[in-house]
């Protein structure tokens, strides 16, 4: 299997997905912790939950994009 420095860089960029996973887990976990303390207020906050997850996830997708660019565009 042949590779290049760009492939190593793409692999390193994939670490960013793990970082995004920490972020998304943090958002969802804290939401659940809060929702179990006050279940009556939880239903109104699902939109905020998804917005928070989306913002955390976007940065992971950026690292995925860097990986793709290194794989196919460099």
């Amino acid at each position: 299997m042949e590779g290049s420095l760009a492939h190593i860089g793409a692999g390193l960029a994939a670490i960013g997905s793990g970082a995004a996973a920490i972020g998304v887990g943090n958002v969802a976990g804290n939401f659940l912790a809060g929702a179990l303390r006050n279940p009556s207020a939880a239903a109104g906050q699902t939109a905020t939950l998804f917005i928070g997850i989306a913002f955390a996830e976007a940065l992971g997708i950026f690292s995925f994009l860097v990986a793709l660019l290194l794989m196919f565009a460099v």
Binding site: F50, I53, A54, E57, A58, F62
Partner: protein, 252 residues
């Protein structure tokens, strides 16, 4: 997709997982001109036909006891309507047609893309960046039309200490202009990544020893992708609502 040959002897992918995203003419071969029906254009047109069939033809009878298609259409209508009311406020209901169109197009394109051997239009940045740029331009122009120069108050965080405000203004300005990029890449990246992962597992199905694991993984990923197809359309729409709220009420 045409190169999907089985390789029972094992070892490596026999097709490339990104092959499914190649744009080619739908009917016949030849060059792609300005008016060629490519597979991307074909599935976009199909998405519009499906939406019209659901929302116009499905609700034509206006029955009190709805048929199946009418209740799906009513469900989608009520879902988006409530989202705008909750996130943007009651005064933003006049923008409902635009947001409804956006939601229906993305969710239909995502679900049509999940049909095996079909083409996912929303997996291309070229499609989603146009959707996001139109949202960005609409929101910016609307903000200036509704509030005049007061729209710039969005960047001037009046609750922060005075020396900090210019720094925050620069950060807010940058984050404002990154919006269309992150807005579009989130949708395209999620959809594309999911489809590529399914294809990678499909490649492993050619190796006999790990075939059962691979088939199970494809089924699991497909279930996840059905969830992602809906959630990403929801997220795109709700972020549009959030940006719209910023344009209508720009005060921090």
């Amino acid at each position: 997709m045409a190169t999907e040959a089985t390789d029972a002897t094992g070892g490596g992918l026999v097709f490339h997982p990104m092959d499914q995203f190649i744009i080619k003419p739908m009917f016949g071969d030849g060059d792609i001109g300005l008016f060629t029906i490519t597979n991307s254009a074909f599935w976009m047109i199909l998405a519009i036909i499906v939406i019209v069939a659901l929302m116009v033809v499905g609700t034509r009878s206006r029955a009190i006891v709805p048929t199946r298609s009418q209740s799906v259409a009513e469900l989608a209508y009520g879902f988006v309507y409530k989202m705008i009311e909750d996130v943007t406020g009651k005064d933003a209901v006049v923008y409902f047609p635009y947001i409804m169109t956006l939601f229906m197009f993305i969710v239909t394109a995502n679900f049509l893309g999940l049909i095996p051997t079909s083409f996912t239009t929303t997996s291309h940045f070229a499609v989603t960046i146009i959707l996001a740029l139109v949202v960005f331009l609409t929101v910016t122009i609307l903000g200036f039309v509704k509030n005049g120069a007061g729209f710039l108050g969005l960047f001037w965080v009046s609750s922060a200490p005075l020396p900090l405000r210019p720094v925050l203004a620069i950060i807010e300005l940058i984050s404002y202009f990154v919006r269309p990029v992150s807005h579009s890449i989130r949708l395209a990246g999620n959809v594309m990544a999911g489809h590529a992962v399914i294809k990678v597992f499909a490649g492993f199905a050619a190796i006999w020893t790990i075939m059962p694991v691979s088939v199970l993984a494809i089924a699991a990923m497909y279930g996840l992708e059905i969830l992602v197809a809906f959630i990403q359309a929801y997220v795109f729409t709700i972020l549009t609502c959030v940006y719209l709220k910023d344009a209508l009420h720009p005060h921090h």
